[in-house]
Structure formats: C-alpha cells, structure tokens
C-alpha cells in the first residue's frame, strides 16, 4: 500500500511511520507547515508547526529512509482552524481546534491531496484503534487509556476512516513508543509531548484572542444579575473557570463562584455557585458519524473533553442535530466544545455543543 505518513516532528508520528515501513508499505513522510510564520522557533513548549519540528520530522524520515516533503497548508489552516477558533470565541463558545484540524486538515485537505497523488491512505501517530466489521471501519479507543486520542478523531466519517491508519493502534503505551524510538535510533525519542495549541506557542490563549478580537472591559454579574465585578475582556473567561475572577463583591454565603456563562453579545460574564454549572441536557449541532447516522434514542457514553470521564447518556437524533441527556449532571460543559459519543469503546459520532442546560 502507498501510505502518506503525517509527521509532526514528534515521537509518536515518527514511530507510526517506522512501523508502516516495517510492515512493508511504500511510505512517504509529509510534514504539514501550518503556521503563517514557520520561522518561529519555540523553546520549551512545542507544538506541531515550528521550524524545529519540521527539521525533526525530516531527520526522522531520513533515518527511516523514506521520501519526505513539507506541504504548506498554512492558508487552509488559517481559514479552517485559526479563523474558526477566533470566530467561535467571539461568539462566546469554547472550540477545540485539534478536532477541527483533524476534520478539515489532516483527514480532509491532506487526505484529498494525497489521494489525488496516488496514495492509498494517510497515517498519523494518534493513539486509537480501527477494525473492519461487516465491510465497515470502526473507530475504537486505544487500550492505553491515558493516551487514548479517539476523542479528537471522533469527527471522522466512514470515507475518512477507510483511508486512515493509526499504527500506534491498539495498546502501545507512550513509554513503549519512546523506547521503540530510541531503539530505532531516532533522536527525538526523548522529545517532550506537545500540550498547547500549536498556533499559540506562548500558551497565552487570552492574549492571542485579545490580539485578534480586541478587548473591552465589561461587567461580571452573579446569577441574580447583581454586579459583582468587572473584567478586562470577556474572551479571557471560559465556562467553569474559578480562578482569576477578581470579584469585588463577596458571595453572600462565602462559597466559591464559577463562570456560568460568557456573553460576547452583551460583553457580560455571569458567575455563580458550582451547582448552577451542572448540566445534563446537551444540544449538539453539526453531527458527524464514524459509520452511519444513528437515530436512536440509544444508550451510550458521552465525552466532551479529550480526557474527561465518559458519562452514561441517552443519545438521540434531533431536528437540527443530536440531543444528549446525561444520566448524572456534569460540570463545566461549555458551548462550542465537541461532544463525542461512544458505544462502549467504539466511537459512534460527534457534535458541537450548541446549548447545555440543567
């Protein structure tokens, strides 16, 4: 098989490519230049689009003896991921740009270009499993729970999954990947993991958003509408946030208060006690399905962050998307997040949370 291995410059994708070579595939490495400013060097923190990462990816490909190219997808990344990220925040939502990148870039733009160039599949270093059942490709969690990345792949559809390979697959642990990289003579074996948003290397999301959207001071009110403080810009807050509120009026009962809602329309941040954060009804739009759409209602598990605990829920198709009703109320669910629903370990689909209610 001719496989295009997306190589970020990190240890996971390098080992993934190496395994494909071992398996006898005709492998070509490709590094995605996503930043508009690829000459930015990062020290300490790293993402997936710095110049250093590009060098590391190329060096790994050279060690593996495979062809290697850099594809400039910075325009599409800017339009489909960065601009979307900013727009979502501007609308008071909390997006996950990694899911968006998988949906629009890695398993769309790259897959399309690769297919046109004669490749049969795209491979990445994600920790997830696939298996063929009745002619369909199922997406499953990695058995390595701590590294499982099925959540960020939850936006993929059947056409994408058919042409995707995750060689770290079933149950490799991160330690094993690092060991394997060292044994293969890949010097990036000890390279630290990336955690931050790749296009915000400083980790200062609030500062990045302030630069894009500007900042306007506004009111912080409590759940009864009383003014309890002021803020320097609504984009600095996310639902569920507790620290950094600097409220001037103490709570009557002295209990900690959390961000309940961020309204960019009125530039108001609403805070309140933790119990008001609890939601159990999620309305999702833009549903995606890994195999086929499921109308339901059906019993499954819902997850809304990359490593949040999957929660039992009843899931059903709704007029404009998907309705997810959690068995137990949960805290800190923000509009804009993706909810990914599972049947056991199998990813069924995803949707973007439009509304979360008690």
């Amino acid at each position: 098989m001719r496989v295009l291995a997306a190589m970020s410059g990190g240890v996971d994708s390098a080992v993934a490519a190496a395994r494909l070579v071992d398996a006898g595939h005709d492998v070509t490495g490709v590094h995605l230049a996503l930043s508009k400013n690829p000459l930015t060097y990062r020290s300490g923190a790293r993402g997936c689009c710095s110049l250093e990462d590009s060098h590391d990816a190329r060096r790994a490909a050279d060690v593996l003896g495979i062809p290697f190219y850099v594809w400039d997808l910075s325009d599409r990344f800017d339009a489909d991921v960065v601009t979307d990220f900013v727009d979502e925040y501007a609308a008071g939502r909390t997006p996950n740009p990694c899911l968006r990148c998988n949906e629009k870039i890695k398993f769309a733009a790259v897959l399309e270009r690769g297919t046109a160039l004669g490749f049969d599949a795209v491979a990445t270093g994600h920790y997830a499993r696939t298996r063929q059942v009745d002619g369909r490709v199922q997406l499953l969690r990695s058995r390595e729970e701590r590294k499982d990345q099925s959540y960020v792949l939850g936006v993929l559809n059947q056409a994408q999954l058919r042409r995707s390979i995750f060689p770290l697959g079933p149950d490799t642990s991160k330690a094993e990947v690092r060991e394997e990289a060292a044994a293969r003579g890949l010097y990036l074996a000890r390279k630290p993991d990336s955690h931050d948003i790749c296009f915000i290397p400083s980790g200062d999301t609030a500062g990045f958003l302030a630069g894009r959207l500007g900042e306007q001071a506004g009111a912080i009110v409590d759940d009864r509408g009383e003014l309890v403080g002021t803020h320097a810009g609504a984009h600095r807050f996310t639902v569920g946030q507790r620290h950094g509120l600097h409220l001037s009026v103490p709570a009557a009962d002295g209990r900690p208060r959390y961000v309940l809602e961020v309204s960019t329309v009125t530039n108001t941040v609403t805070v309140g006690p933790k119990e008001l954060l609890a939601v159990s009804s999620l309305s999702g739009i833009r549903p995606t399905w890994t195999e086929v759409p499921v109308d339901g209602p059906w019993r499954g598990l819902a997850q809304w962050r990359a490593h949040s605990e999957p929660m039992p829920a009843t899931i059903a198709a709704s007029a404009d998307g998907v309705q997810v009703d959690l068995d137990q109320p949960a805290h800190g669910i923000a509009p804009g997040q993706a909810v990914v629903y599972y049947d056991g370990d199998r990813v069924v689909g995803s949707a973007t949370i439009a509304r979360a209610a008690a």
Binding site: A33, L51, P67, V70, D72, E112, A116, L117, G118
Partner: protein, 375 residues
C-alpha cells in the same frame, strides 16, 4: 528507489568524477599547511599553487587573481561586501542567486535592483541611469541558476565601466558549460564553484582583476591576498582544478551534446499540454526550466522522485516549504506560474535515455499533480 535512478539536478550539485576523486585522494596525503615556511609547508604550497595556476589558465585569469574560498556563495559575498565597503552602493539584477540578492540583509538600501524583461534578461541600457555617485559595483549573473538564461554580460560590463563602476558576474552556472574568459570578458570580479562542474563541495573562487581593491569582510590570517582568511584546503583546490580542467577540455563537444539532450526534452514536452519552457536562447545547454499549468511544483517533484527521477523546482525553500520562484516573478509571471516550475539540469553522465525516462514519466505525473491541485 527501484532500479537505476535518473539524476537531472546537476545545477544543484554534479557528482564528483573518478579522476577528481583520484587527484584529491593523492592530495589529501600531502601533509602541511601551505602557509607554513618549513619543508612540509612548501610541499603543500607547491601543490596548492599548481592548482591555482591551472584554474587561472582555464579561465583566462592570472594566478594572482584567483582568490580561493568555500564556494559560490562566499565568492559572491566577498565580491559584494568587498566592493560596497563601508559606504558604497551596489546594483544587482532582480534574478540573482540569494547569495547576491540577499546582500540587502546586510547593506539594506545600499543595494539597488535592476529589473529584467520577460525572458529574464537585464537591459544594459538601463544601467547608466541606475548608477549613482556612491555606486561601486554592478553585479549581473552569467547564467541564471533557475532558468539557464544567459545575461548580456559583455554589454552589462561595458555599461558599468562607461558609468565608472566595477562589474561582477556570478558565473557559477556558466563555468564548465560556456566558454568563460575572464580577461576577455572585461569583468572585474567573477564567482565560480567547484561542485557545479564535478568538483568537490566546499571550494570555489572569486576572480579579482588586478588593481581592484576590495575591503575584506572577514578577518584572520589573511591567507588569500588579505581578502579571505582561513587555511586553504589543498586537496579541495586540487579537486577544483582537476574538475575544471576536465570540464573545459570537453566543453565544446559536451555543450553540443547537452544542447541535443535539451532539444530532445523540449521536443517531447510539446506533447504534454500546458507546459511552457522558460529557458529561452541564449541559454546554458545544461538547464531546461519549464512551467506546468495547474500544478504545484513540489507535487511534480515528489511524483517524479517516486518514478525514479531527481529534478528540482529550482527555487528556494523556507523551512522546507516550496516558495514561488522569485526569478519567474521578476520575469512577470503570475504567482501560479511561479509556483509550478521545474528545473532539469544535465551533466556528463546524462544520456538520451534519461531524457526519455522523464518524457515517459511526466504525462502521468502532470495529470496526477493537476488533480491534486484541484483537490
């Protein structure tokens, strides 16, 4: 990856030939620093100066005019920075190699740029008006490294001299492919590199006409006429001299043969729709540059690589990302045209079979690259 590969990127680096390797193998065995006064030093110097005289003889220069350095880039840097000095201005063409054009990074506004026509050539008549009181040097390359197009060096030199300034030419892609006679050219400065003509990477030379005084941009022991410091690598100098002698000896025969290969490629390309050849006469016989409509050059390069053919996009990369050709942009081509160009460059080992291999692989590659472009 499978079977014999076709290497058509000699303009990037042409493989070292067996006689050059053999000559260098002997020379690496010569001990001593050629600047030393003792017996070993004299032995090394004897070999070095013999090489220098050989280079000078093959290029119509005096041995004292040959300033050895690390290669074409350093030679160009020496020429430009050395001529500009502390307060001088220089004029360069818009299609120069980065080792000339990027003098802007150091000299800033003291670098003026001469535009080119649609074929990529400088108009010598424009030079007089562009030269100002502080201008010291005009630099126009002999052969363009991307397109192979030959500049009107004689006319440019005459115009520079008429305006009272020196003239430099980056002849890295000309030496070994076209007759180059330094004395006859009238040039004051000329750059060359060994590895473009089958010599080793790591050595080149700046020819400096006697009487031309340059400010040394670097400092050190002052080994090369106080202009370029650093111990001169004797074996590399021998490699340069040997490669140059081979190239010059077979030049007239080889230039005919390479021109025939170029014609064979052009004739075959006529059958591929949407291909435009950017290399127009007069040009180096060793380079054919073309634009393929509706493609990304890096896709074509990848597909040809997979088909066993090494060629180049000709233009630079930033962080590995293929950039549109500044040369083609300067020639007035669109961003799309400048992003879809390929360079095939020939050398002594290139055969008609290599050209046929390209013509065999290109139609399918073009078709795929077009569908990927549209995807």
């Amino acid at each position: 990856m499978h079977g014999p590969r076709v290497f058509l990127d000699h303009a990037a680096s042409s493989p070292v030939s067996a006689p050059v390797l053999a000559a260098m193998a002997d020379a690496w065995g010569v001990p001593g620093n050629p600047s030393s006064l003792h017996t070993a030093g004299r032995a090394a110097r004897r070999v070095l100066e013999q090489a220098r005289e050989s280079v000078a003889a093959d290029l119509g220069a005096h041995p004292g005019e040959v300033i050895l350095c690390s290669g074409g880039t350093e030679a160009n840097n020496l020429a430009l920075l050395g001529a500009a000095g502390a307060d001088g201005r220089i004029l360069v063409s818009a299609v120069e190699h980065p080792s000339v054009l990027e003098a802007r990074r150091v000299l800033g506004e003291r670098v003026g740029v001469l535009g080119v026509d649609a074929a990529g050539r400088v108009d010598p008549a424009g030079i007089a008006a562009a030269v100002g009181p502080a201008t010291r040097l005009v630099s126009v390359m002999w052969v363009n490294n991307e397109t192979g197009v030959v500049q009107p060096v004689a006319e440019v030199t005459a115009a520079a001299h008429a305006a009272g300034v020196w003239c430099h030419s980056d002849a890295v892609q000309a030496v070994g492919h076209l007759p180059v006679d330094f004395a006859g050219s009238g040039l004051d400065l000329l750059s060359l590199s060994a590895h473009k003509v089958g010599g080793p990477v790591g050595i080149g030379a700046l020819l400096v006409r006697r009487g031309v005084r340059l400010a040394a941009p670097g400092f050190g022991g002052g080994q090369e006429a106080k202009l370029r410091s650093g111990t001169v690598p004797v074996a590399l100098a021998v490699g340069l001299a040997t490669a140059l002698r081979l190239a010059v000896t077979r030049l007239s025969e080889e230039s005919v043969r390479l021109a025939e290969l170029g014609d064979r490629l052009r004739a075959g390309l006529a059958a591929v729709p949407g291909v435009r050849v950017n290399t127009t006469s007069p040009a180096s016989p060793a380079i054919v540059n073309l634009t393929v409509d509706g493609t990304r050059a890096d896709d074509l390069l990848m597909l040809l690589d997979a088909a066993g053919i090494d060629c180049s996009t000709g233009s630079a990369c930033t962080a590995g990302v293929h950039q549109p050709s500044e040369v083609l942009l300067a020639m007035g081509r669109s961003l799309a045209e400048a992003s879809g160009s390929l360079r095939f460059s020939f050398g002594p080992a290139t055969t008609p079979g290599d050209i046929d291999a390209v013509l065999g692989a290109l139609p399918a590659a073009v078709e795929r690259a077009r569908s990927a472009f549209a995807a």
